[in-house]
């Protein structure tokens, strides 16, 4: 019985295999098929189009059947600023190993290097995209994978640039090991659920490294966001998991590592925020868990802008930030517990590793700077130390319910 089963499945696999892999069509400047468009027209379902090294000046290549577009030696497709380069409308399409440059810029149509429309089970990998408007644009796509692509834009201003990887109404997409530089938003998600974004490096972008709008149940982990206008913006989304990401050097007026606006029930675990003007800005966000994050050398580690309830900060390390926390209201419904604060000056008489005196992370100075930003110039002056001290002894301006009742004596590992 077992043997019969095996041979049957083998037969099925062989048949299927034949169907899936199909035949191979070669494209090169000296071949019989000289352009990718011709090859696509000539190909039947599940064929592979092998593109040899060379320069192909083409645009509006429409992949409307399940094909594999495979580049050999990184062939170059030059869109000559005419419009979109590759458009995928069929399911089960693979695009692998091509270099695309000169995507057209338009203010009425969002031209992309690769656009995926309503297709499923696609794979886009090992691509190099340069001089682009939008990079990879997925609209209403599902179950796809964007893997190991390099996107180098030349964006200067927000209004005339596009996003690196753009997801609109997508489901179950994996975005893995991509490198995105100098576009508007490195990775942008709108109305996209169950997206997994991991191991990407998004740097030097004009606006955000990663941007969520109205997207729920997404995960991003092990990404690095460095030197962007701002690191990551998560807005109007629910149940986002943010784990082990690196937010670095997002500097400037109104710049932050992570912006949370109208976010509910998210998890923020194990991230590192280093040398940002503001580590996290939180606005109207409820029931968030902050656990095991490191805030190192930021201007402000966390800035709470109001309407934030039931957030829990536990086991985080606040190391050498100019300000640990800034609050603009006297009301506090958030919990700070078991964090390590480098500014903590209390003692631990019973030697249980937890300070015996509560730590108040909001200083009077941070309250004043909130009111009058120019007063930042008095940072670390003796006068400020004196009034901070007196405020610490008896809080008047800062929320008196806001303290870490059990601050850690040693850095949480």
């Amino acid at each position: 019985m077992m043997v019969k089963c095996h041979s049957l499945s083998l037969l099925v696999m062989l048949l299927l295999g034949n169907a899936v892999w199909g035949s191979i069509l070669e494209v090169c400047p000296s071949c019989s098929i000289k352009s990718i468009k011709e090859a696509v027209a000539a190909a039947s379902d599940f064929d592979t189009i092998l593109i040899k090294k060379g320069v192909y000046k083409e645009f509006n290549i429409l992949l409307n059947k399940p094909l594999t577009l495979l580049g050999e030696g990184l062939p170059l497709i030059d869109g000559e600023d005419q419009g979109e380069v590759i458009t995928i409308t069929a399911d089960q399409v693979t695009v692998d190993g091509l270099k695309i440059i000169n995507v057209g810029t338009s203010y009425t149509t969002d031209f992309a290097a690769i656009r995926v429309i309503k297709s499923k089970d696609f794979l886009i990998q090992n691509m190099v995209l340069e001089k682009l408007f939008f990079g990879i644009y997925l609209e209403k796509a599902q179950n796809g994978r964007i893997y190991h692509n390099q996107i180098f834009g030349d964006a200067e201003e927000e209004f005339n640039s596009g996003n690196g990887i753009h997801l609109w109404y997508c489901q179950n997409i994996e975005v893995d090991r991509n490198m995105v530089q100098k576009v508007r938003d490195g990775i942008y998600l709108e109305f996209s659920d169950n997206i997994n974004i991991k191991n990407n490096i998004s740097t030097n972008n004009v606006r955000y490294g990663l941007h969520f709008m109205f997207s729920n149940n997404d995960v991003y982990e092990n990404n690095t966001f460095e030197n962007n206008g701002s690191g990551v913006a998560v807005m109007f989304s629910k149940k986002i998991k943010m784990r082990n990401n690196n937010f670095r050097k997002n500097w400037g007026t109104n710049s932050y590592g992570l912006l949370l606006k109208e976010i509910n029930d998210a998890e923020i675990f194990g991230n590192v925020f280093e040398e940002n003007s503001v580590g996290i800005t939180i606005e109207g966000s409820n029931r968030l868990q902050y656990d095991n994050n490191d805030f190192i050398n930021n201007g402000w580690a966390v800035k709470v802008k109001g309407a934030c309830y039931e957030n829990v900060f536990r086991n985080n390390n606040f190391l050498y930030n100019s300000f640990d926390l800034s609050y603009n209201s006297k009301l506090n419904d958030n919990i700070f517990d078991h964090n390590f604060w480098s500014g903590y000056t209390g003692y631990d008489l019973d030697k249980n590793g937890i300070g015996d005196v509560p730590y108040r992370p909001v200083k009077l100075f941070s309250y004043i700077v909130n009111r009058t930003p120019e007063t930042i110039i008095l940072l670390r002056s003796l006068f400020m130390d004196i009034i901070d001290f007196s405020e610490k002894v008896s809080p008047i301006f800062t929320p008196d319910q806001l303290f870490d009742a059990s601050p850690l004596m040693k850095r949480f590992k």
Binding site: G252, W300, Y320, R371, T372, I376, R380, F383
Partner: protein, 260 residues
């Protein structure tokens, strides 16, 4: 002038005050580095000490020395010597020995802990440079106060008040003015107000290196332009030099016209 400078300098060394000052910084440096092996963090802690303590010691020491050596000064005045060289010589003797104590006292422990191999060297040199400037400025101000006041108690009082004003009260007034006028653009004003107080200026200069992310984060274009460039550093150094030269010029002027 050089002879008087030398005499004042040796006088201070004999009186052991320079040693005490030197040993204090030496101990401070070693203790800081012992507790916290990280050079760049030790620089941050030192900044707080330097911007408060150096002006205080400069002021007190300057006034004290001037009053103590009054008889000797009068003796010198009877000699055929230029008045300005007498007083400037004494000034440089005091300020020089204080600066040397500061630089050696902090320099030795940091060098032993591997300053030259670390990247904190620029921050540290800036720290020492501002420390030296503050010593020069506040000793000069102290000499000015002393030469204008025959009464020692009054002189001491003014000197301490001066320190208190520049180190604490000025910042308080500055803060109040910023809050009162918060409706107006304050960038240029706050830059100017910082420039007018050597302690604030030194603090800002060092902060440029240390807390830059906070400063860049929340400030307008004027701040950014100023702090972001070398021009800011140049202007600050020029301002500190002004703070040194102006009191010295007044000291020389006053010494010429004073009836002893």
């Amino acid at each position: 002038m050089l002879k008087i400078l030398k005499y004042s300098y040796y006088d201070l060394i004999r009186s052991r005050w320079s040693y005490v000052y030197f040993l204090f910084y030496l101990a401070l440096g070693f203790v800081l580095l012992f507790l916290n092996n990280d050079l760049s963090k030790a620089v941050i802690t030192l900044m707080n000490v330097i911007i408060v303590l150096v002006p205080l010691i400069g002021t007190i020491f300057g006034v004290m020395y001037f009053y103590n050596s009054k008889e000797f000064t009068e003796l010198l005045l009877a000699q055929p010597l230029k008045r300005s060289s007498i007083f400037l010589g004494q000034y440089f003797g005091v300020a020089g020995s204080l600066t040397l104590s500061l630089i050696l006292g902090l320099g030795i422990p940091f060098t032993l802990y591997g300053l030259f191999k670390s990247n904190a060297i620029w921050d540290f040199s800036l720290l020492l440079a501002t420390g030296a400037f503050l010593t020069l400025i506040f000793t000069a101000l102290a000499f000015n106060i002393a030469i204008s006041n025959e009464n020692r108690i009054k002189g001491f009082g003014y000197a301490v008040l001066l320190w208190l004003f520049l180190a604490v009260v000025y910042d308080g007034l500055f803060l109040m003015s910023l809050i009162v006028f918060e409706e107006y653009p304050l960038d240029s004003y706050s830059l100017l107000a910082t420039m007018l107080n050597p302690i604030d200026l030194s603090r800002t200069l060092i902060l440029l290196k240390l807390d830059i992310s906070a400063l860049l984060g929340y400030t307008g274009a004027v701040f950014k332009q100023f702090f972001g460039t070398d021009a800011g550093l140049m202007v600050s150094v020029a301002m500190l030099s002004m703070w040194t030269v102006l009191p010295l010029w007044r000291l020389a002027y006053k010494s010429k016209h004073k009836d002893f």
